[in-house]
Symmetry: C2
Subunit: 171 residues, 2 copies
DNA sequence: TATTGTTATACTCTATAACTATA
DNA sequence: TATAGTTATAGAGTATAACAATA
């Protein structure tokens, strides 16, 4: 470190205290959690968005790409790419609907089901590592507090906001 | 409990329960918080990374791009682009160092300082909205719990992990 | 020769718009 | 004409590598 970095009387400190509020902590920890989870499922050959999609399809087999796009708040062409990747890995199948041949019904394959099983294990490990600082009681308290916020903020359970595009501002 | 359950098929429900753990909630809420904050500061003409940079420079005026890159965990060329944008907006100044003419010393301009003031206001509003579901006591509890996790996880105070690149997995 | 900052380039993510097949 | 999915294309973000100035 440059030992003599101006004997400043720090005019900035007053103007820009480090963000210490709970909102920043929440964003910081959330990004950290998402990043660590991504690394772990990456070792299973899955990207984080893959995991969410896979789960949604497993939960409601046969659903269409359109409905996924709507639930995720994402444009249909994006789902094409996402499903392409999942299909190439052999985790989901597209089947042309018999009733309306415009639709693709989506199904999780046997491999996909196995992958989801491993994801579940990894998620448990992840949570345990992430909350290592807290005992069981505090974990319950924290989850309850977060749950109340999520509900009040109107978040869709199980849907990570990372899918949908942020409104872009001119730079 | 299930006295006479219909022979439901739904093989997926058992295989893929919606993620309900605290880790997912944390990631979900963190992304939500970051997104909302981004919208708000966007109205001030700042992107979220701008805010962090501006704060770091204000806190330690005269620091170099190299040192910022190290603290953020990003490559130096990225800092070039980030500072370019901030300089173009008139929020920071690059000054060629007299002692070592390879360095650019970074300073927050008067406009930048004003912007930081507005950011502080916006951040307070943001936090208040985000935690609307909680009373003051619960907010303190939550922040304490998050702080313990952040410390145990080794997060650098005030540095959002969103700056640094996630290790990419082959897809 | 090593270091700071910069430019050139490429790759990923994600959107918009145009297009095909089906209804 | 309207809808599901796809392809083509563009823009933002971010990295790697080569480079110029300075030490």
């Amino acid at each position: 470190m440059s030992s003599d970095r101006q004997p400043v009387e720090d005019p900035g400190a007053a103007a820009a205290p480090p963000p210490s509020g709970g909102a920043f902590l929440l964003a910081q920890l959330g990004a950290h959690a998402a990043g660590r989870f991504g690394e772990r499922v990456g070792e299973l050959g899955l990207a984080p968005p893959d995991v969410g999609l896979l789960r949604m399809i497993a939960l409601e087999p046969g659903r269409s790409q359109r409905s996924l796009a709507a639930d995720l708040g994402v444009v249909p062409s994006r789902v094409v790419a996402l499903i392409d990747s999942l299909e190439k890995k052999g985790f989901v199948e597209r089947r042309r609907s018999a009733e309306d041949r415009r639709h693709h019904e989506l199904y999780v394959s046997e491999d996909g089901r196995r992958a989801l099983g491993r994801v579940r294990e990894v998620a448990a490990l992840h949570e345990d590592d992430l909350f290592a600082a807290l005992d069981e009681e505090d974990r319950v308290r924290l989850t309850a507090l977060l749950g109340r916020i999520a509900e009040q903020q109107g978040l869709t359970p199980g849907v990570h906001p990372g899918y949908r595009q942020l409104p872009k501002r001119p730079n």
